[in-house]
Amino acid sequence: MTLNRDEISRRLAAVGYIADHDVATALWLMDFLKRPLLLEGEAGVGKTEVAKALAAVHSAELIRLQCYEGLDQNAALYEWNYQRQLLAIKMREGAGANADAIEEHIFSERYLLERPLLAAIRRENPPVLLVDEVDRADEEFEAFLLELLSDFQVSIPELGTIKATSIPRVVLTSNGTRELSDALRRRCLYHYVDFPEVDREARIIITRTPSIDAALAVQIARMVASVRKEDLRKVPGVAETLDWAATLAGLDFHDLRQEPEVVHETMMCLLKTREDRSRLTREVTERLLGKVA
């Protein structure tokens, strides 16, 4: 089932994802060109959300593979169920089976544990496969992933080749802690996710915190936008904005100017290091408030 671009746009809105204009195009192209999508951007801009929204748009299952340094094929693709294998060996041996027969038996589907990548290509309906923070994995894993993404088949030495029953939609995200290989980049469509503009962030706040005043949401979005321009170690992401919005809504705020003191105190939702806290003094908060409210 391929949807056209406007339909994707509409459905994204329906599932509560406030997309920037070009995301819908990229998501449509994924189907049209059958290529994976690589999302880059700062931490906290909502890259993972795109994959979740995509799954919701296609009513597909989301399978997530979180990458980390040292991730290997055992953890990403498949693993044998050792306990059951050992048990089976003992039992068969007791029954007097020979070694070849035992080997054939214990390396069969029954003892195979699916990990995300294998699971993604063995579903009836094409799922969305999210390979999160692919830059954290090693180069070897990246090369392996590239191979999987072009062939969509896996060879398991003890078992043979497993072909994909359905081709998953693949979304990769990267925070850019390591340069990805050109080959992987070329294979993928690319979309750079930026912090949302003020009005989009305001709409996101309103969608996620329905109890909030529309005017307050805009104020919060503008405040966060100016905080992001300050020289901070950890720039607040969308999730932090939402935390702060929920806090203020919970405190029954309607206007940021209402109680500058409380605004300053609750801004710890946005600032996650001591250094940043000390950088954003009361005076700075007031200056920013003066600008945005």
């Binding site: 070009d22 195009t25 192209l29 294998q85 850019g176 802690t177």
Partner: protein, 398 residues
């Protein structure tokens, strides 16, 4: 460079459209985009598809297809506009950004190190390595090892002859490669972090009836060091810049995980230009960028830019930062201290290479150098090839 679309589904497209697209792809390639035949084919499919009707939908589609990095992403808009909307005029300008840049400068390399270019140097700086075999008497070049040795220990300022310069640069490139190779080998011998490989163990012991007789072990693979180089290219470092640019190229080429920056009054990220396969072109390109002569050196400010915009991305827990600078800072000392402190917290080691240490009677008097020293793990000379080679064992231990 023909388009030759192999798998086009854009059969319905007219010849002019294909030609325009081919031109666009060529423009992108000239601007450093990595666009292959597969991408061109897909672009034809997009042009034949529903998004091609309006430029507002076509642009994001082509952007998603052709871009591969953030910098591609940022430049795409301009190139797209120039090509599709202002055919001709702006195209030339954009092309000039990369293609022409690499033409001019080979001269720059030769200027460096020439004593005639530096009339005002005080006498005691003119010290050179004592054996008569030194760099100056450019004859008798085929002496193999001893020749190598003498070049290695000659202060880089005194290497004048064009052939010597070329040889020095080759040496620098080789040195960086050797460093890499040794680092990797040593790590493998040194580390013994082992754990059981269950999959192999079971496989091996099927014939023992599942009793684990032969154990299969796994050795932890150690990831190599990541190097981040910050090269001071200010006027005071002028004599050494070309050489270190070459060294930078060698290092970036040899260490897969490495990043290079050049700074004088501002900071420039140069890894991408250095990855050019053509060494001369890469070095030429960079020598141009590195020409920041005049206006002083703002080490503190450059470090601030690095800490704020690049550090998060390029530094991890096994990163060594190598700063090559003489420490003459025209910015404020407070800022330098603050930024050194920040950098210190992020990375594993800070190595400061100062070409001046090789000079007789040198002590780190410059204010900037004084201020930065407490945060530096290794403060070492870098005035000749020997001194660079001496770094290698240190790097291997990190």
């Amino acid at each position: 460079m023909a388009v030759a679309p192999i798998n086009t589904s854009g059969d319905g497209l007219g010849e002019p459209t294909r030609r325009r697209l081919a031109g666009f792809v060529r423009t992108l390639r000239d601007n450093g985009f990595k666009v292959g035949l597969a991408e061109t084919g897909d672009a034809l499919a997009i042009l034949a598809g529903p998004l091609a009707a309006k430029s507002s939908t076509l642009k994001p589609a082509l952007r998603a297809l052709f871009c591969a990095t953030h910098s591609d992403w940022e430049r795409f808009e301009e190139i797209f506009k120039a090509y599709w909307h202002g055919f001709g005029v702006s195209q030339a300008r954009i092309l000039a950004g990369t293609a022409l840049e690499s033409r001019a400068p080979a001269r720059h390399l030769k200027d460096v190190g020439s004593p005639t270019g530096m009339p005002g140097l005080p006498d005691h700086l003119e010290r050179r390595h004592d054996d008569g075999n030194g760099a100056g008497d450019g004859r008798g070049k085929r002496e193999g090892a001893s020749r190598f040795e003498s070049l290695a220990s000659t202060d880089l300022r005194h290497i004048v002859d064009a052939a010597d310069i070329a040889q020095t640069h080759a040496l620098a490139a080789r040195l960086s490669r050797v460093m890499r190779a040794r680092l990797v080998r040593r790590e493998q011998v040194q580390w013994r972090g082992r754990r059981l490989d269950l999959r192999r163990t079971i496989h091996r012991n099927v014939s023992h009836g599942g009793t684990l007789v032969d154990l299969a072990w796994r050795r932890r693979k150690i990831k190599p060091l990541r190097l981040v180089l910050l090269l001071d290219a200010s006027g005071s470092m002028n004599l050494y810049t070309a050489f270190f640019v070459r060294f930078l190229h060698g290092v970036v080429d040899a260490f897969r995980e490495s990043e290079a920056f050049v700074f004088h009054t501002r900071l420039a990220h140069v890894s991408a230009s250095l990855r050019d396969r053509d060494v001369t072109r890469a070095v030429d390109k960079l020598s141009l960028m590195a020409q920041g002569i005049g206006g002083g050196t703002k080490i503190g400010e450059s470090l601030a830019t690095f800490n704020r915009w690049h550090a998060r991305r390029v530094i991890n827990s096994r990163t060594a930062v190598m700063i090559v600078s003489d420490g003459y800072d025209t910015g404020t000392t407070e800022q330098l201290v603050e930024e050194m402190r920040r950098l210190r917290r992020r990375c594993r080691r800070i190595i400061w290479l100062n070409p001046l240490i090789g000079w007789r009677d040198y002590s780190p008097q410059a204010r900037g150098m004084q201020a930065a020293l407490p945060y530096v793990d290794l403060f070492a000379p870098a005035h000749n090839l020997e001194s660079l080679a001496a770094l290698e064992p240190y790097l291997a231990r990190i």
